[in-house]
Amino acid sequence: MTSRLLVHGKVDEFVGRLLKSAEVIAPHRTPGGDLLYASVDTAADVSWDPGIPMESLKRFLMPQRETILQFSKNGKMSVSAVYDDKPKVFLAARCCDVTGVSVLDAMFGGTYQDPYYLMRRGQSTFIALTCQQPDTNCFCVCGDAGPFLKKGYDQQWTWLPEGMLVEIGSEQGQRLADAHADLLVPAELEHIKRRHQLAKEAEGRFGDFRAYVAGAMRKLSMEEVESEVWEQLADHCVDCGGCAFLCPTCSCFTTTDRFDGAEGIRERHWDACSYSCYAREASGHNPRAHRKTRLHARFFHKLSHQWAQRNARHACVCCGRCLTTCLAWAHMPAAAEAIRRGAMK
């Protein structure tokens, strides 16, 4: 599949056309100055600024709170599933976030199929935007999740001086390019060379944080992590759940039923494995009553080979959001280092 070029001045028109047929989710700069993925109304709402949006794409594929069933007991019981089948285009999605979707796919599309997630997923198109300027806490170079992607996208866009280089990564991406062929011109070899040069330059711009996950993966998978590591990490966690909520690959949830007379709904809410009640059983027994066991479970799920084999990669896309949001100091770079060294610094 060949690459194309979307010349300057045509980008907004392209976005305008996307908006006619789908919900477009793209980075948006709020009046307060935050960068958030949002469902945009116009091309002008899209922010092309560098930087990582506060949250991943997860909120749009699996909302923090959603209604999944409706039921009524008027006469006979009736139950119906509630799906969101609106077509969605994720525009200027960060490479780490697009990579994160592959881990969600493995969770929700594997042995147990989650129809609510899969409905949204099946209606989604991912247009990744390469990151030429990483954010302060980014370390995707450590996790094969950016700043430029080799696969996993429908289209990957890169800003070049001449316009937007459009790489095609799937048949869906190809169809989208074909549908708007009048806005695109074939890319020259010069453009491709320039893109590879930019990728190399971007890799040199990362900040101080690194997570050398390979060593941590080995120790976790072999159950060789010193127990003190979990005790120390437990003193550096306040159970806020922020790391799980912002993580592009975390997928824990809980459900609750609400009744109003004979009618009712089932809601699904995000949950976090670091919460003390997460694994608590109805009997009152809690296999993960201590925070250290919860943190062990969390990082085992993120980094062990056992899980990496199932997901086709480890479950950290190195977006750095846990580092931004941690109320204490139990984020991925801190944990990976503690696991590798056998103690917290």
């Binding site: 100055g33 609750t256 009744f259 109003d260 931004t324 109320l327 204490a328």
Partner: protein, 647 residues
């Protein structure tokens, strides 16, 4: 796009967050990274703030008690019932027979209109909030923690109470700033501290006086520090060791660490102000601040952490029996004249009763979003006093324990259903914005009060929350010149940094305060060889009304109540071994006031000889001594000698 920038409605930190709205429902929360307090972080509570909206347990219609039962009514009927009840109280007992409780969680606009309603319309000075404590005013800011090379935590646990403050402390540790923790409980931050002074409960004053004395004595200088030297009693580290159980050498080490620092932030919370020796302890902290002003030791920032999102704002708005809005003295004729000019004649500027004094003394009580029962040391007695009232009105989000006793219940709008402002513990005046309409017939607290006032023949002319705020900005000097537009930036505006009037309010922090030590708390005896401490920093949110009514978080916060229904008794492993107790076993706890059964948790967090239990559970046990807080007369649970044995 439907991302509404607003302010978290839980603790006093004032984090910035976005509410996501889809199809008329608030579906979630995202922390704001550009916000100066949250910086991209939220705690467990903040992450679920959206669950207050579209919540099936919310009040949606007014309720009026008929034939002994609360029944749904129209607003007209409810307003008429409130008017009749209040007018009857006025006719029978006069204005002073009515008490008004404002709220540490409602917005400034609500508290301001309530203060006007109390002092200006009803003419009663009995206006308070049950969470008001001695000295919550703070000149320091959370950002000071980033600039400090030493942080001293005094009888608080930000991991439980103010997690946004914890985030700064953990980051300060990463850049090698020092940490001294002065607390009975050996919590996570105490375990990570350079020095942990684990004191016997009740000896907070002694410990801080001893530390301050060591620091004063480190200098020969005189002049300004002479006044501080006179204020702090000459207590030696050995005497502190005897009174507080803090090893003398550890106290010296803490003093040395303090004197080696250049910039110190002293952090305390309302947990300290609930201690029987709070006055002495807070005075000693003010003296450390005064020393810094006299160039002895490091620069000091004093950070008092208000427990609720708008405790600071409720005080700013004059929800207090001791002052007029804007901290104006009751004798301040200029301030009274300014208020009368807008409110009309009949301003009551007398000294009123505190929330706790009102019980048993007033005949009618009007409660706006205040959990009086939850703050009570003896909930049974408070419940009895509330049940004995001639007339009780409650406006709130949920039918909580106070509302269930009311004659009229009025449904209020939650933070995501209205516009307004909260003022954080650092005096940050911040916007709260409407994301969705209130459920059913619920409406903003200020609007409900204005309507009741109109029913009493004293209409107020506000059309919007912004109208109320512009009156606040006109009448309250520390808010002068502020408007919703000026508050648009993330983090709003900190009034302590801008208003000239603010300086006078913080003068106490720079002036030497005499430290009076009245005994180091109760002593154990042969019959009662252990001390039981009702720890306000253990699970401070566990039964909070707005938490208990959420969908997912309430599960997390209900855990201690589920696992320890009779009360959690935290024992040190040594004590547990000696007593033959293990985690999960029941223990019989006896004090001079009675006997009860509690369930044991063996934990290193409890120091030897001291048993800990969450404050909210202890209040129900009836085992602990109650003492009155000097500033508010609030009865608090004091540390109590007990005997513990297997049940």
């Amino acid at each position: 796009m439907a991302e509404i920038a607003t302010t978290c409605p839980y603790c006093g930190c004032g984090c910035g967050l976005y509410l996501h709205v889809a199809d008329g429902q608030v579906t979630g929360v995202t922390p704001s990274r550009s916000h100066p307090v949250s910086q991209g972080r939220l705690c467990l509570k903040g992450w679920h703030a959206h669950e207050l909206m579209d919540n099936p347990t919310r009040l949606t219609k007014p309720l009026v008690r008929r034939d002994g039962e609360l029944r749904e009514a129209s607003w007209e009927e409810a307003r008429e019932a409130v008017r009749a009840g209040l007018q009857q109280a006025l006719a029978q007992g006069g204005s002073h027979s009515i008490g008004i409780l404002g709220s540490a969680r409602c917005a400034n606009e609500d508290n301001y209109v309530l203060a006007r309603f109390a002092r200006g319309v009803l003419g009663t000075p009995n206006l308070d909030c049950s969470l008001r404590t001695g000295e919550p005013l703070t000149s320091g800011e959370i950002g000071d923690l980033d600039r400090s090379d030493l942080i001293v935590l005094v009888c608080n646990d930000p991991n439980e109470e103010h997690p946004a403050v914890s985030a700064r402390i953990y980051r300060a540790r990463q850049r090698s700033a020092g940490l001294i923790v002065i607390s009975t409980r050996r919590h996570a931050l105490a375990r990570l501290a350079d020095v942990h002074l684990s004191l016997r409960p009740g000896a907070e004053g002694h410990t801080l006086a001893g530390l301050t004395r060591l620091i004063v004595d480190s200098t020969e200088a005189d002049g300004e520090i002479e006044a501080v030297r006179r204020s702090v009693p000459a207590i030696s580290p050995e005497e502190v060791e005897k009174a507080a159980g803090v090893p003398a050498e550890e106290l010296r080490r803490a003093a040395r660490r303090y004197l080696e620092s250049a910039q110190v932030t002293l952090v305390y919370s309302s947990a300290l102000t609930l201690s029987p020796s709070a006055t002495a302890a807070v005075s000693a902290l003010a003296d450390l601040s005064a020393l810094a002003r006299a160039q002895v030791g490091p620069q000091v920032s004093l950070l008092a952490l208000a427990s609720r999102n708008n405790l600071q704002g409720s005080l700013d708005m004059g929800v207090s029996p001791d002052m007029l809005p804007g901290y104006a003295s009751l004798e301040d004729d200029t301030a009274a004249g300014r208020l009368t000019g807008v409110w009309g004649d009949g301003l009551c500027h007398e000294q009123g009763l505190s929330a706790w004094q009102m019980l048993g003394q007033v005949r009618a009580l009007y409660v706006m979003g205040d959990d009086l029962l939850r703050a009570a040391a003896d909930p049974g007695a408070v419940q009895e006093a509330l049940s004995g009232l001639d007339f009780l009105v409650v406006q709130d989000l949920f039918l909580g324990p106070v509302a269930r006793l009311a004659h009229v219940v009025l449904p209020a709008a939650a933070f995501g259903e209205r516009d307004g402002t909260f003022t954080s513990l650092e005096g940050r005046v911040q916007r709260v914005r409407q994301a969705v309409p209130p459920p059913g017939e619920a409406r903003e607290d200020w609007r409900i009060i204005a309507e009741v006032s109109a029913a009493l023949g004293r209409p107020m002319s506000y059309q919007s929350s912004e109208d109320v705020f512009s009156e606040i900005a006109d009448l309250i000097p520390i808010y002068q010149g502020l408007n919703y537009h000026a508050l648009e930036t993330p983090g709003g505006v900190r009034w302590p940094g801008r208003a000239a009037e603010a300086a006078a309010l913080f003068a106490w922090q720079g002036a030497p305060q005499p430290v009076t030590l009245n005994g180091a708390g109760p002593q154990v005896t042969e019959q009662y060889p252990m001390l039981l401490l009702a720890d306000p920093t253990l699970g401070p949110w566990d039964e909070e009304t707005t938490i208990a009514s959420t969908l997912t978080v309430s599960v997390e916060f209900a855990l201690v109540g589920k696992d320890y229904p009779s009360g959690m008794l935290c024992l040190n492993p040594e004590d547990a071994k000696r007593l033959g107790l293990r985690s999960g076993r029941n223990a019989r706890v006896t004090s001079s006031r009675g006997e009860g059964t509690m369930r044991v948790q063996v934990t290193e967090e409890a120091p030897p000889g001291i048993a800990l239990t969450p404050w909210w559970q202890a209040a129900r046990l009836g085992l602990l001594e109650t003492v009155a807080c000097p500033d508010t007369d609030r009865p608090v649970l004091g540390p109590t000698p007990v005997a513990v044995a297997p049940a």
